[in-house]
Symmetry: C2
Subunit: 342 residues, 2 copies
DNA sequence: AACCTTACCGCAAACGTTTGCGGTATTTTC
DNA sequence: GAAAATACCGCAAACGTTTGCGGTAAGGTT
């Protein structure tokens, strides 16, 4: 196990050559004779020589990688987005360093420092919901390539987002049009800006349609099915008049679903339910879940594109991209009444 | 954007000190006067000095990180396992370099080389299903810390697995006990060993109970709902006598569910269905899906533990750990007949 | 015979950090 | 007042690689 990996010096000594000659032989430099090259390459194979990337990185002053900071890779959206980032990064020969904050701003701040120390070429981040202090981002914008995606914060930087306000507005309008008049909103943490934007879209829509709502019908939940379940449980017991619920995410919607199923309410007639993200299981749920489809892969890909523009000095530090989402209507909000079997 | 990050030399020059003094001041060395320390620290703050990890890594001959190779972080099991690895790695002050193979052995082999070049302290891997060539692993076992988890291959190395044979056996037995006699098996790729082990458990159980099966009832599918759906569609049309189906994973089971729902078959009476992994959506599906719960987090944590034992020379290179799985029975395989409301 | 070209290879610097060792003042001790 | 102890700091090596430049020998040209 102690076996150290061979270095250029090891090869050079064994062959009676200099380090530079070995280096050039490996990189097929024209200055080196074919005979020497073959001698070197034979030993390279035999010793399983692997160049020390640490030395190369130090020389190049960069780690040929970019940092990706997400709340959790277990969220379906981020797993998809990372694939998009990866695809784009590969074109530039860069590797990804994936970091999870677990929704903690402190961890986020630490990660930023670690990535800076590692001399990554740039950072792509979806901010955690754990707080309102964004000094760790403000510190580096304008002097370091940085792109936000999906979740942003009040920092003037490059961003790739979906139109959260419109998505929530459209979803709310859909519920209104199906006859719902007591619509509640299960938001994420209060510190999460995109949650607030969606809330705004929901409220604006209700106002436009002259529909009243109550402050108590807007609840905030952390990102776990259990929390959502408990919150919705108390909500619908306290306010039985509620006939629709929009959840910040599908995971929260699933928690709500669990709560509602405990009572004898029928979905969507008694209470309709919808979420965000269009996760793979949505259409298999009972009832299939209405959701907002987000272009997660494309969001990641585009974010990487903006980052590389910054790295290569060809792009602004505060470019804004807004991608379109899509409302996917399923039976949790809308039942075909003309269906023969009902 | 061109702003280079400050170095020790920058600080030393500005203060008329030597590099070594600045270095010691920052690390609070007793040889340095308090006055000098405070002068240095003030400048460190002002310049937002971040030590160059690339240089430190080169000096220490390691990148203070371990490599984690998984087929895809989008698989629920791996997202969980990575959290377990992370928890353990943090204790040792090591970072994770997460790599996805997308089920390609060639990519896997490339990643191994990249990680060796980066001088990671060790590698934790769940092998891809893309082939049978494992020379890239054989090459490094015994001379480099390496641990397999969840998916292994025919290489004598440390492994953390679940008892796949028993899990499949138990699941099959459960179906037999509920009266099923025509049980099919939707396996993963033929090159995937754990899939073959599960298949063996399924076949052994049927043999023990004297139940016949047909070769055609065992199908192989890649890891996508769509593929599973198409395969199961043709399967149940060709063999309508099939009254149960075990899928290699819950995602494949969901694909099967989609296929079955297109026909007028009732679940579980006409055909029962079960999967592996116990994913979060399982209990919300219609019907809720019977599944094998795997200790994914613990699998990751334990794998990391074995790795650190190897790194610190306190452990064998081929320790074997088998964790227990648990059968979670839901309505997709078993309907309480005495239920009052039915 | 003097010069030029070509082919091949080595020297040494550079990247930024840590750390053993030696050095120089200043203070303390008897 | 001399010796010893203390406080504080700098020199230089080391990690492994790439690369500009210089060097040497052989062969070719005039």
């Amino acid at each position: 196990m102690k076996n150290k990996i061979a270095t250029l010096k090891d090869i050079a000594d064994k062959l009676g050559l200099s380090i530079s000659t070995v280096s050039r032989a490996i990189s097929d430099h024209p200055d080196i004779s074919e005979q020497t090259k073959s001698r070197v390459m034979k030993l390279v194979k035999r010793l399983d020589y692997q160049p020390n990337q640490l030395a190369i990185n130090l020389l190049n002053q960069q780690s040929n990688s970019i940092g990706v900071i997400v709340p959790s890779i277990a969220y379906y959206l981020y797993a998809s987005a990372i694939s998009g980032i990866e695809q784009e990064a590969e074109k530039h020969g860069l590797k990804l360093i994936i970091c999870q904050t677990n929704e903690s701003v402190q961890r986020e701040s630490e990660i930023i420092n670690e990535l800076l120390r590692m001399r990554v070429a740039g950072i792509i981040v979806s901010v955690s919901s754990g707080g309102r202090d964004f000094t760790h981002f403000k510190r580096i914008v304008k002097r370091f390539p940085l792109v936000f995606f999906n979740r942003d914060c009040s920092v003037n930087a490059s961003k790739v987002m979906i139109n959260n306000h419109k998505a929530a507005y459209d979803l709310t309008q859909h519920l209104v049009e199906t006859g719902k008049r007591h619509i509640s909103f299960l938001a994420g943490p209060k510190t999460l800006q995109i949650s607030n934007k969606r809330k705004k879209g929901y409220l604006d829509c209700l106002e436009d349609f002259g529909i009243e709502t109550q402050k108590e019908w807007v609840c905030h939940s952390p990102f776990s099915q259990i929390s959502a379940m408990n919150i919705v449980d108390t909500l619908i017991r306290k306010y039985p008049e509620i006939d629709a619920l929009i959840a910040f995410s599908d995971q929260l919607a699933m928690g709500a679903l669990k709560a509602i199923k405990k009572y004898q309410k029928s979905i969507p007639d008694d209470i309709a339910i919808a979420g965000f993200n269009n996760e793979p299981a949505d259409e298999l749920l009972e009832p299939p879940l209405t959701s907002i489809e987000q272009p997660a892969f494309e969001m990641g890909r585009k974010a990487a594109e903006l980052l590389f523009n910054q790295i290569h000095q060809t792009g602004k530090y505060n470019e804004q991209v807004v991608l379109n989402s899509r409302l996917i209507i399923r039976r949790s909000t809308w039942q075909e009444t003309t269906k023969p079997e009902r």
